[in-house]
Symmetry: D2
Subunit: 301 residues, 4 copies
């Protein structure tokens, strides 16, 4: 179950062909890439997965392909939608297809704790008993949830088995979430893992984040859980310049896809329109950062 | 074509059964109600039509039923969606079903004119040559479009044949829109028609608005276009207390549905969850306002 | 004390000269105008009073002049400021000058109940024991306060003696506020009094609102409190077209000042820059609405 | 003049005593600290300087003290204010006190290009001929300015001599700003210098940013301008974990002040209320990051 989730959940990109159609073959190669670089599970159809650019049929096709290729490794599917009815429909379909659970962030415009609570009451009435990751990403959604409200949601809805925490600062909020009384849920963190080793120190169960070099996430996780804190930081710091470069919202996703393509994980780097495109200067910066990373890793042995 | 649109386009409610399922029979009675009270056309699946609570299949079912029942009277279908792909899919389906055109508002988060222009380029590339009402409703969408940007959109995209103007103040913006050089588009106004006779004076082609008493909209429109300005104002003013009461966002929609039910236009008044519910105090206020309206109309003869 | 506040608190304009300087003589004539049309008190330096365009010295000069001219009638001074230190300074000065109390709205960007509570703790620690009107105007401030949070603020801070309620719908929130257990505070309502008779029915103690025809506010209040509900509505309805016209944000303030000038209450109608200006079309609309009002009042006798 | 600005402008903290009063002696020690670590100029009363918590008199006292202690090195003073009148007053005062210029960000709520242009017209009419840094920090202000609008502002207002660019991604926007035709302005970047070496590569004239270790900013700037790009990156990367830790909004400012205190630059670390406070866990993280930085620097020689 998701409340036992530990380790590295990679937030997956959605690969497109040059004409903008879904590239299902790249879903396979991408899945293999993630698992061969240490992923314990995947989260698909998130914000960085361009979920909000797909049709419902495409969403189901992409999620199903990831699930099939993951061969019983857990796949969490983002189903957030301004329409609860549409969310419920996709939830039923992906659970039937074998998803480990769904991830739900509140829509924008919920302005008081009561509105947040009412919203999730409507959601869980509708989707029923489905393992759920509650996503706390206020800078993207525009809806803020305090720690006490998250605590109330956990208490009311046994479906919530994990929280993806990506408010800022995440670190202080993790400490407060971990101190909540009652049922234990997994806490996984996002924000592109920009604070991963510190978040490990605050008590998370692992990252739920995207990065072109997922081996960093798995190494940091493994070292930290083995008590080798300083080495975990050292590995993290080597990748930080590139990680930070990818941490530039949707433009950063374009960068990540370009690097994933260079690494052979997907066939085409393009994002579906409307979305950013990289130019020659951007490519030169990526060259520079990758070259510097290569040297740094070589020096570290 | 929509650029010839004149008269009263009623923004239609979506009727639900008590269990939250779509009530297609009430779509029929509601359509009849609107046309028997002077509507020239309908706009369905708008914000007040709870469009964002439906599944794609439900959206298509509701729109198709309105279109069928309207018997060749024009029906505009709201297709705004954070996913352009999903918007395009629904657009194709409702145009096949006989819609007169679609209505599109930009999603939230477009922060510069360039972003607005890029967004609609992606939209029209995808949906093709479909008659479109551009909806300018910034307080709902969170995206602001200046008059020059709207002018550029009209110039670039011949698909835009009408503008639904509901920025505030609408009146001054209408004057500026009407003064735009170039191709003429229809200007229809929303904001629940709160400024209808003044907007007529500013040069609109009619209201595109919802109200439990659509006969007011059609009377005001008819009187004003016949040059009987003072009488148009007089009719409008009689209904204004109730109109203003219904002009309270989603809560006002709940009121409107209650009154529509009392008038026999739909079978159930409830909104789909999550949404507001009326209590006894609210009902008593509605009683009072309807009673006062009745007397006012009786006194006016 | 403000928790005994009853009746009509007019939200006052700030008059400027043609060159944008403060017009203190018009403060006198405006004060006289308000009180001669039935005001029980004034609220100065509110949003509609262009408070955020003044220097601290100007704020004090304007508030002091209103207070002096009001001759012991209560004047509440808006002191909301992103700087608590600046708010505290002005609070001390206007209380010394004889203000009945201050009005405070939270700044934008308070996103959780805890943040709202912390903010007001800092405020009241700083300003001390000053009678305060808590302003709940989320569409202007961007900060939402639920009824339970307002209840907690009242419980924690005896300084809060009144709430100016202008969330939407105001009517349902008033009912919930009135039902709060504990210490009674006055509830006065804003939103330009657009729902005044209904709000009276929900239990408010009076309007705290601006209007070019304050005699409407005082008549409606007097009739309603005398149990003459139907007459209160009738008076209200006669003015509603003009009231609604003035209820168009800062543009509506420009209209109101123009009408106040025509009525002799202030010498110049202009707003301080940056702000809206009226053109010939706008003036013609005002002519029309005033002419219609005159006739309506004449017909009513 | 500011359009010749080159090098490192440190965004200064505002030091407070334990009781929340301004600590002017620490202004002196802080100024000395910045200049002894390579600053070419200072920017005071910015967002990270808690400017919005001061009274006007405090703002002037703080700015004057920095200016006096800087002994003719340039000091830019943040004067952004929702009141243009108040901004103009402070501007006059600090220019009299010897400021090199002022920094102005638009207030929130300017929603179209026309509104941005009108706002700055009102501003410059009022403040006159004062050298100005235009601050483009939309995630803080809530007002977005596209490159063409910034270009128009530069063209219309010769007072704008520099742009502080902190939109995200900053790098691509810098490239577009640098490509603007017309008068050259300095481009300095913020965002806590999170992308400094890449921004140097995009053509900026230096950072305008805060950091507890300003020697990093000056070293990176010096190395990069000397053509030693790779070394510039290497220095930057060593400090990046700490830089990123301080890049957590107002909470990051609390961290920065704590480290500045440890380094002897200021006497007390506290922020004025309402604001974040650090606890034992936070302090332990700071210990860890500083210890790691020390070792990294030692290894690098």
């Amino acid at each position: 179950m998701l409340d036992q989730a530990r380790g590295v959940y990679i937030v997956a990109q959605t690969p497109f062909q040059e004409n903008g159609a879904i590239d299902l073959e790249s879903v396979d190669s991408l899945t293999d890439f993630y698992f061969s670089h240490g992923a314990n599970g995947l989260t698909v159809l998130g914000v960085a997965g361009e979920a909000n650019k797909l049709t419902p049929a495409e969403s189901l096709a992409v999620a199903s392909r990831f699930i099939a290729r993951a061969r019983n490794k857990p796949v969490v599917v983002g189903v957030s939608n301004s329409s609860v009815a549409q969310m419920a429909e996709l939830t039923g379909q992906v659970m039937d297809a074998g998803a480990a659970g769904v991830m739900i962030a509140p829509p924008g415009g919920l302005r008081t704790e009561q509105e947040v609570l009412s919203y999730f009451e409507a959601v869980f009435d509708r989707i029923g008993n489905v393992p759920t990751v509650l996503q706390d990403f206020p800078f993207s959604t525009g809806t803020w949830m305090s720690v006490p409200v998250i605590g109330q949601l956990i208490e009311r809805h046994p479906q919530i088995q994990a929280v993806k925490e990506e408010d800022l600062p995440s670190i202080t909020k993790i400490t407060k979430l971990r101190a909540l009384p009652g049922r234990r849920v997994a806490i996984l963190t996002g924000n592109n893992a920009m604070f991963l080793p510190l978040e490990m120190g605050r008590g998370i169960d692992g990252p739920m984040a995207g990065f072109s070099h997922p081996e960093m996430l798995s190494q940091v996780y493994a070292l930290y859980t083995a008590g080798r804190v300083d080495e975990a930081h050292a590995v993290f710091d080597r990748y930080l310049p590139l990680l930070s470069y990818e941490n530039q919202s949707q433009w950063g996703v374009a960068v990540r896809k370009e690097i994933m393509k260079r690494r052979g994980a997907i066939k085409h780097a393009g994002m579906r329109r409307p979305g950013p495109k990289l130019d020659a200067t951007d490519h030169a910066e990526i060259d520079l950062l990758l070259e510097r990373l290569k040297r740094t890793l070589a020096e570290a042995g």
